[in-house]
């Protein structure tokens, strides 16, 4: 199907707006994301107790919380859509590529908002030392793009499968591992406030890997979206 260059921006925007409205109404994804993150943080904070932790440990814990919460949130979103049957209507009216872009944008925005909130909560519960907050925020945002870049395609597959929610982290983890490793590495630098000084391969990874993921997802999405 041809995508008229003037038309597609409007159509994608319409898709995103529709998803946002739906989400604001039901708040399914937001709720699961939030509860998951909260529980994780509470458990971690509780068990760690008054003992502080090194920046590296904080980086790891933060990304564990972010990873699993994001998985929980995204899988809820698209599964709900398929279950409600709106997915079929979408399939008939909108070309797959546009659906993908729309979903990608929606997922990214959703995750960005929630992950930054999780970060906020992380600071509240765990009080990591170090003054590199700006750097941490940047890394979380970059990492989040990778998370949604991988998950959007995978969630379309998961929505049709029987295990649904539990399946997404299993599928996503190997693919996201390069991004996660880099994210942890860079986050711990950021906590120490040394992010910009150490522009190593890891930060570049966080910028370029999601681009590759998104490109591949864009190409592969029609295969898993259309019947």
């Amino acid at each position: 199907m041809e995508i008229k260059s003037s038309g597609w921006v409007k159509r994608v925007a319409a898709l995103v707006v529709k998803d946002i409205k739906s989400e604001l109404r039901t708040r399914y994804a937001l709720n699961s994301l939030f509860m998951f993150a909260l529980v994780t943080l509470v458990v971690v904070s509780f068990t760690l107790g008054p003992m502080g932790a090194e920046p590296r440990v904080h980086a790891v814990l933060l990304w564990i919380a972010l990873f699993f919460s994001s998985m929980a949130g995204i899988s809820r979103g698209i599964v709900q859509e398929v279950e409600k049957g709106t997915a079929d209507a979408l399939r008939l009216t909108v070309p797959a590529e546009l659906v993908y872009v729309g979903k990608l944008i929606f997922n990214t925005c959703l995750l960005l908002i929630v992950n930054l909130l999780i970060l906020l909560f992380y600071y509240f519960f765990m009080s990591p030392t170090g003054n590199g907050v700006g750097g941490v925020i940047l890394v979380v945002m970059l990492g989040t793009i990778s998370l949604s870049g991988a998950s959007t395609l995978l969630s379309a597959m998961v929505a049709r499968a029987s295990l649904k929610g539990a399946l997404l982290p299993v599928l996503a983890f190997p693919i996201l591992l390069p991004a996660l490793l880099s994210a942890v590495e860079v986050t711990q630098l950021a906590f120490k406030g040394r992010l910009l000084l150490d522009w190593g391969g890891d930060l570049q990874m966080l910028v370029f890997y999601p681009l590759i993921l998104i490109t591949a997802s864009y190409l592969l999405f029609p295969l898993v979206w259309e019947d």
């Binding site: 049709r160 499968a161 190997p174 390069p178 890891d202 591949a216 592969l220």
Partner: protein, 218 residues
């Protein structure tokens, strides 16, 4: 058939060579001999993944479920060899560095391969309603997951080099092996590749036979 007997003999020679001809490595002693089996197993595990991907692409192009079967079979073979490689690698690690598992780049890479294979089978088992959809999704996952592989190959060594000492025999990196060891390793690699090719050929023949209406029980 003659080729296969040759393969059989070849591997017998390789086994003898691995245990008797090749010298024991400095410091590690005879336990280093596990390398002659561990490396080829990991190699076959990786090649099998590539072959699976090729069949997956062929399926996507033709929608012929045949290719799906071949892709799955190779994934199974790949998983088997990867598991064997992980186990032999763990034994080697235990002997060399004292721990069965310490997340050094080699171990992590083989483990990631195992994770990808595992995710692949979990995906398939959760999708048995529709042969075409299952085949399509499996193919897409195989391709998508492959993206991570080259990155992991480059990222991992850097991340963990700072934490773990270099292994005494850096098997795939610098060739600190002497010539004898190298010969045995290459010979073993060839032998395992031949074994893999044979197994593949047998499976393709089984599938072809079943197509014609024959039945084949193992």
């Amino acid at each position: 058939m003659l080729v296969k007997y040759f393969l059989g003999l070849w591997m017998v020679l390789v086994i003898f060579a691995a245990f008797l001809y090749a010298p024991a490595a400095m410091g590690l002693g005879d336990y280093s001999r596990i390398i002659y089996f561990h490396v080829p197993m990991a190699w076959v595990g990786g090649v099998a993944y590539l072959v699976s991907m090729v069949y997956a692409i062929k399926y996507l192009q033709s929608e012929n479920l045949h290719y799906d079967r071949l892709a799955v079979f190779n994934a199974e073979i790949g998983t088997l060899f990867t598991i064997l490689a992980t186990i032999t690698g763990a034994i080697f690690a235990r002997v060399t560095w004292g721990d069965y598992w310490n997340w050094d780049p080699r171990q992590t890479s083989i483990f990631i391969l195992l994770l990808i294979y595992g995710a692949f089978f979990v995906l398939r088992s959760s999708l048995d309603s529709d042969g075409d959809r299952r085949a399509r999704f499996s193919a897409v996952y195989l391709l998508f997951a492959f993206i991570a592989v080259p990155f992991l190959v480059f990222i991992l060594p850097r991340v963990y080099a700072s934490l773990h000492p270099e292994p005494i025999i850096n098997v795939e990196g610098q060739l600190q092996m002497n010539t004898q060891m190298l010969i045995v390793l290459l010979a073993s690699l060839a032998g395992f590749s031949g074994l893999y090719a044979w197994i593949n050929q047998l499976y393709r023949r089984i599938v072809r036979l079943e197509d014609k209406g024959g039945e084949f029980d193992l």
